[in-house]
Amino acid sequence: MDHHAEPVVELEDAVVVLGSFPALAGVDLVVARGEILLLRGPNGAGKTTLLRLCAGLLPLARGRGHVAGCDLTTQRDAVRARVGLLGHANGLYADLTVAENVRFWGATVGATPGEVDAALDRMDLSRRLATVPVNRLSAGQRRRTALACLVARRAQLWLLDEPHAGLDAAGRDELDATLRAAVGSGATVIVASHELERAGSLATRVVDVVGGQALALRGEGG
């Protein structure tokens, strides 16, 4: 993994407190463009908190952080515009068709029709699926549509929380191919998953997120 590629995420001694509980207690992390980073660790270990921090949703109690070139404390809206966070919910409008959903999310950043079509093509949703309402899609197809929305929204950093949950084997392979393609065209992906064997082969780097007051980041495996 060439580390001198321009970093998309830089966290220094990042501390996030939820209520009075230090969910992240001093995290140092650098993620370069084009990486697929896997965050591994048990539930409640702080994986989701770390993703939400990178998405610009949580205030830093201490330490500093830059995501997609923007400061995490002062330019949070700018961070949010450049980052896509996908949890279990896909954030789609079930009554609208695939194309209408992707066009809507692209329009939030003023994407051109050309960009929308490119996003649909990338997720090979353009032909017969484009005009199908989302409520008639399979889970895998919905996940692909949600990812197409991220592409249309020009998200540079994809933060995926348990993306493989609820997908069958075919759906998972599709998703892996999609993520590799996305990275191929300049995006960076961070996946949080507690399914060890499944995601291992996908990731270019694996980082253990171990639950504890101090978030011990060990291991540069993968």
Binding site: L18, G19, S20, F21, N43, G211, G212
Partner: protein, 261 residues
């Protein structure tokens, strides 16, 4: 007028207040004692000693309760609005502002209920009607429901910070509604054929011992409000601390499993 009943209601409050230890300090004990004395005096003066009013007779005694409690209810809601603004203004302040807003609204709603009840009884005796579409009374009833909504919003869950921000916004919006309701009812009543009964409570002039009893009522209920607010704020603080502690324990346990696995 039977003095016994006055005594009876007074003694029930004595027994309960003095025993406070959990959230009590010497200051709150003095405040509690002062509240008791004032409430006791109010009961005796209001029910027995003060004379009947020349115009409306005995029913003036209800007025002490009605005016006393409506005053504290409005004070409570002003405090809620101000502390909500304080929480929102300097976002970094602790959750104390939020807890004061919550505690003040809770007692505000209770006093609002009492004042509406006493007001209805007083209206029945003075005008033969429990309810009249008077701008101030309607606004008071309206506020009562609005703040029940506020309390419902307060326990919507989510983190303490989330609860605090959401409640603060709702409290400020509630203040926004007061002039709207008041103005619309006033305009409505002035247009209506039978002239409105006017602001009943303000055209009743009290003097001498009766005026003193009314002032005593305001003072007693304000003391009670202050005492209660102090204790309730501390209870809420402890409850929040316990919530966080519970969360700490649960996650600490999982962390130890995490490390061993």
């Amino acid at each position: 007028m039977t003095a016994v009943t006055a005594g009876a209601s007074e003694s029930t409050t004595t027994a309960s207040v003095r025993g406070a230890t959990g959230t009590g300090t010497t200051f709150t004990r003095w405040l509690g004692a002062a509240t008791l004395v004032a409430l006791g005096a109010l009961a005796v003066l209001g029910l027995v000693v003060s004379p009947a009013d020349v115009v409306q007779g005995e029913s003036v005694r209800i007025l002490y309760i009605h005016v006393g409690t409506v005053w504290v209810a409005y004070v409570a809601f002003i405090v809620t609005a101000l502390s909500s603004a304080a929480y929102l203004w300097k976002r970094t302040t602790s959750l104390t502002w939020d807890r004061i807003a919550g505690a003040s609204a809770e007692i505000g709603v209770v006093f609002m209920a009492v004042t509406l009840f006493a007001g209805a009884l007083w209206g029945r005796l003075s005008w033969g009607a429990f309810w009249v579409w008077d701008a101030r009374v309607t606004t008071t009833a309206f506020l009562f429901i609005t703040y029940i909504g506020y309390l419902a919003v307060r326990d919507l869950g989510g983190s303490h910070r989330q609860r605090a921000r959401r409640s603060a916004v709702v409290a400020l919006l509630a203040v926004l509604e007061i002039p709207l309701v008041h103005f619309s009812v006033k305009l409505w009543r002035s247009v209506h054929q039978d002239a409105s009964v006017g602001d009943r409570t303000s055209d009743v002039t009290l003097d001498g011992l009766m005026l003193f009893t009314l002032m005593l009522a305001l003072g007693a209920f304000t003391l009670l409000y202050a005492w209660w607010l102090l204790h309730r704020q501390r209870v809420l603080a402890m409850r929040d601390a316990l919530d966080d502690k519970g969360l700490d324990r649960a996650l600490a346990e999982r962390r130890t499993e995490g490390v061993q696995s």
